[in-house]
């Protein structure tokens, strides 16, 4: 074994270092005055990690092909690291309340480590280990509010579906092993995958397993309950970071490993994407609980994310997907930060009707919420519109409307476009509740702490600038 290979996995090494620092800081500052520096320490370390991921690195492999990295993977790692930075930043008050903030940050960072390992896996074993490293601590994080009924229920649903889905997924991997006799992605690519019964079965099982993780529609039943019951901060993390990492990995494996049978998984993906976007939109319309509402919104957003994979050009698809996830992180984390801060200041109110007349008491927060909703719905000046545009572009990329598959690709993008309009209806329902609906007792005015303000400022800068500043997109495109 060549130990210098560790120098090639700098993002992971830096996360391990962060874990150790947090661990030491946790017991060094316990019950002392310095405890108040714990959250800033964790945030700064994650911000540093974002910059570490941004360091230019050429594509390389380590540990005999187990670990593969490229600039596109590094960009995605930087995006996810930034999202985790926002999550940790806004979690201060909630995490400090139970006195277990050290454990929370370590759980979050170790799931991130698992996702990094999963994204740069070069072998199905490494991929499986990364996935489990991400989902087992995540289950603990969902169960973090030990004394709340809903949190326990959400965690039970989450861990059972997570194990079930990874079982289904590795059943698919075992078929691929039976066909090719190897688990290395590079060897499978070299063997030129054909559409044999084993590979098709492998594809279907593998896809369903990861579909559970991304919560695409036939596999979405756990999402609403888990998102509603989990602590709001963890829900935010689940809906953006873990979804983004799984979507990126699915895209990368579909293109690279299953590249030979692309026409088969295109059909699969088209069906699933149309179902996810449409059904989730219809369910979101009738939700009255804000976190449950955001769960259905995130299922439909997952459909948009996977729309990027319908194109047949890797560089285009990965750029659109990474860009979409970046915009989705800032918009969704803004919404969840506001939900979380409202929940903390008003004794756990998360119903949409609780937000009636919110504008009169907390004008700034409701303005930020409005901007985030506009971005999620894709209203033009905000970043969400640009990310949707690039995803649609990537969906029809290389599709010839005169062929059957090409026509279907256009049809799927058209349905997605119609659904954008439907989604505007329910995103604007929140805005309507805050500005228009009259009520005698709106939520009282409150001041949020400086960490929350800073997290919201970061999100707002993202929503307003990532779209109109074209260098963000060009930076991602250059790395792909």
């Amino acid at each position: 074994m060549n130990y210098s290979d560790f120098f090639k996995m700098i993002p992971e090494a830096s996360l391990v270092a962060i874990l150790i620092v947090l661990f030491v800081a946790d017991f060094a500052t316990a019950k002392t005055e310095e405890r108040r520096w714990f959250n800033p320490l964790a945030s700064v370390l994650l911000l540093l990690n974002t910059f570490v991921c941004l360091l230019p690195m050429e594509a390389q492999t380590a540990f005999g092909g187990m670990y593969v990295t490229s600039s596109a993977v590094n960009v995605m790692k930087a995006i996810l690291s930034m999202g985790t930075f926002i999550v940790v930043l806004q979690s201060r008050v909630w995490a400090a309340k139970g006195g277990k903030e050290g454990e929370f940050y370590m759980l979050i960072v170790s799931t991130l480590l698992g996702m990094f390992a999963m994204m740069s896996a070069g072998n199905f074993l490494m991929f499986f280990l990364g996935l489990e490293m991400a989902s087992v601590p995540l289950a603990c994080a969902v169960a973090f509010d030990m004394y709340r009924k809903n949190s326990a229920e959400a965690a039970a649903k989450f861990i059972l579906t997570a194990t079930f889905s990874s079982g289904v997924m590795i059943y698919g991997i075992s078929f691929l092993y039976g066909e090719f006799g190897t688990l290395y992605f590079a060897d499978v690519v070299a063997a030129k995958m054909q559409a044999t019964p084993l590979t098709i079965m492998g594809l279907v099982f593998f896809f369903s397993g990861l579909g559970f993780k991304i919560s695409l529609v036939p596999f979405h039943f756990w999402t609403a309950d888990t998102y509603q019951g989990a602590p709001t901060t963890v829900t935010g993390y689940l809906s953006v970071i873990s979804k983004g990492a799984a979507a990126f990995t699915l895209l990368s494996i579909l293109f690279h490993v299953f590249g030979g049978i692309m026409v088969y998984w295109h059909v699969l993906l088209m069906i699933v994407v149309v179902l996810s976007i449409t059904i989730a939109n219809l369910f979101a319309v009738r939700q009255g609980e804000l976190k449950r509402f955001m769960a259905f919104s995130s299922i439909s957003q997952a459909g948009y994310i996977m729309l990027a994979a319908i194109g047949n050009d890797w560089a285009n698809s990965v750029t659109a997907l990474s860009y979409y996830v970046l915009i989705y992180i800032v918009a969704n984390m803004a919404v969840f930060t506001i939900i979380s801060v409202v929940e903390q200041n008003n004794g756990g109110k998360t119903n949409i009707s609780d937000y009636n007349g919110f504008y009169r008491t907390n004008p700034r927060l409701s303005f930020l919420m409005t901007l985030a909703m506009f971005s999620l719905g894709g209203i033009p000046p905000f970043a969400g519109m640009f990310s949707k545009f690039f995803v649609f572009m990537s969906g029809v990329n290389g599709a010839d409307i005169n062929t059957t598959m090409g026509a279907w690709a256009y049809a799927v993008v058209f349905i997605a476009l119609i659904n954008t309009v439907i989604s505007l209806y329910y995103y604007l329902k929140i805005v309507k509740a805050m500005y228009i609906v009259r009520t005698d007792n709106p939520l009282p005015a409150f001041r949020s702490d400086c960490n929350t303000k800073f997290a919201l400022a970061v999100c707002m800068a993202g929503i307003l600038l990532f779209g109109v500043c074209s260098f963000v997109y060009e930076w991602i495109a250059a790395a792909a």
Partner: protein, 102 residues
């Protein structure tokens, strides 16, 4: 030597028994056991393919070992969570832990 098809049938049966149990059982621990059946069927697949189809390497066996280890970790966390559920609901039946509905 037993032909590989027999192992395939065995693992397929085990897998779908697991899926059936996961869908029909109303008890959290029984659901966990069903998931373990699914993971075991995967292990049988890997071990049999490795031994009978690709005897030169050990990749399949290694995957089996790792999968056993990972499923043990998962069950530990799942059992801890089920115990927590039991504390709150005084039951481990799925019907009784439906606190959240629209």
């Amino acid at each position: 030597m037993i032909p590989v098809g027999y192992f395939f049938v065995l693992s397929g049966l085990l897998f779908f028994i697991g899926v059936f149990g996961f869908v029909t059982r109303r008890n959290l621990v029984a659901m966990l056991i069903s998931v373990e059946l699914i993971l075991n069927s995967v292990d049988i697949n890997f071990a049999a393919f490795n031994r009978l189809l690709f005897p030169d390497g050990y990749e399949g066996l290694f995957f089996t070992l790792f999968s056993i280890g990972v499923s043990a970790a998962e069950s530990a966390v799942a059992l801890a969570i089920i115990i927590n559920v039991y504390r709150h609901f005084h039951s481990d039946q799925v019907n009784s832990i439906e606190n959240m509905k629209l």
